[in-house]
């Protein structure tokens, strides 16, 4: 294992983690923090923050950067929307981030479960904002319409990497399709804040990153997150490099100069990391 740079150190407190983990277990909920082995789990759980992963912990896709298990998922749990809302209330979340395993096995890609969960949160936690980090739902506009109609404050869908690496890194997804999802959602409801993210360290060049930012911005996207790819295991897509904090600062400056409304760019920035702060920063947009 290559030696980790100094900036990839995180804090971990077992008691704090146990407390949030027990709540999730009680309510039969999954978090992407745990399933994706997120490096920020210790920090976020200590702050009583987590990102709910609805529609089960088993994914129908096999993206090579991702730690989530691939397989045959179970049908959606009808109690899950209310359980998420109850967990959000117990954690006292001001902003709830919902993500999912990609459910190509479901006709609506899980859109209805997203909508039900957003509605349950609205009912149980009035005033709480919601961010849906969705799959591409195979660019099924009927499915996307269901999510849009639930009107989360932020609609997030990650492009993950530059155009040139899509086939190798996320073989069952696609660059144009992900951009189309972002474009469609923004056009359908311009009051939605749209958000996306990509990783660096997969072998992309700065020129490719520059074009990626242009392509994302052309969809009308408001918020961009950029973080370091961290290889979950030796079996996953190989790490090409550790970008430095200075590199991330440069990417942030570039993205802001192009016109993104908000950019989170740091080695440990993730789609939902400090999502509330991001939303606060863009509050004039909603």
């Amino acid at each position: 294992m290559e030696k980790k740079p100094e900036w990839l150190k995180v804090r971990y407190n077992q008691d704090a983690v146990n407390e949030v983990a027990a709540l999730m277990r009680d309510l039969k909920l999954n978090t992407v923090c745990k399933e994706a082995n997120c490096p920020n789990l210790g920090e976020c759980y200590r702050k009583h923050t987590s990102t709910f992963m609805i529609l089960g912990s088993v994914c129908t896709r096999n993206c090579r950067f991702c730690n989530v298990t691939t397989g045959h998922p179970l049908p959606p749990d009808p109690e899950e929307p209310m359980h998420v809302a109850q967990a959000a209330k117990r954690l006292g979340l001001r902003h709830v981030v919902l993500t999912c395993s990609t459910r190509d096995d479901l006709p609506d890609g899980g859109a209805e479960q997203f909508a039900k969960t957003v509605r349950a949160i609205r009912e149980v936690c009035p005033g709480t904002t919601v961010e849906t980090l969705i799959s591409d739902m195979q660019m099924n506009t009927d499915a996307l319409d269901v999510v849009i109609a639930a009107h989360p404050e932020v609609l997030n869908h990650n492009v993950e990497t530059v155009k040139e690496l899509q086939a190798a890194v996320r073989p069952k997804a696609g660059y144009e399709r992900s951009l189309a999802v972002l474009r469609y959602c923004k056009e359908k409801d311009p009051t939605l804040l749209t958000k996306t993210g990509f990783m660096v360290g997969l072998g992309e060049t700065d020129e490719q990153i520059d074009r990626l930012m242009d392509d994302i911005l052309a969809t009308g996207c408001d918020i961009l997150t950029i973080g370091q790819y961290l290889q979950p295991s030796p079996k996953h897509y190989p790490l090409a490099r550790y970008a430095t904090p200075e590199d991330f600062a440069r990417y942030k400056e570039l993205a802001l100069s192009k016109g993104f409304r908000h950019v989170a760019s740091a080695p440990l920035a993730r789609s939902s990391y400090k999502a509330w702060e991001v939303l606060e920063d863009t509050h004039d947009l909603y």
């Binding site: 995180v10 804090r11 971990y12 983690v17 745990k34 082995n37 290889q231 979950p232």
Partner: protein, 79 residues
């Protein structure tokens, strides 16, 4: 009172971890929440915080050792 601090299970499939650095020496005072030692995983280096305050009485492993999940790593003398 002596209290054992154990190797945390940082991810579901983790069976052991490499203790890559001690951040406190034997005899040092440790406050709950202070980082005590570091474990390297595939993704990052985790600084493991003490969950109680006390004096670090004994380091049970050396830097570079592989430690089983839930095995005692340190003994803390607490009040």
């Amino acid at each position: 009172m002596e209290k054992e601090l154990t190797m945390p299970k940082l991810r579901p499939e983790m069976k052991d971890g490499v203790l890559c650095a001690w951040l406190k020496e034997e005899g040092d005072m440790v406050t709950a929440g202070e980082p005590l030692f570091e474990i390297e995983t595939d993704k990052v280096v985790n600084q493991i915080e003490a969950t109680e305050s006390g004096v670090l009485k004994k380091q049970l492993f050396e830097e570079g050792d592989t430690v089983d999940v839930e095995a005692p790593v340190a003994i803390l003398e607490t009040k």
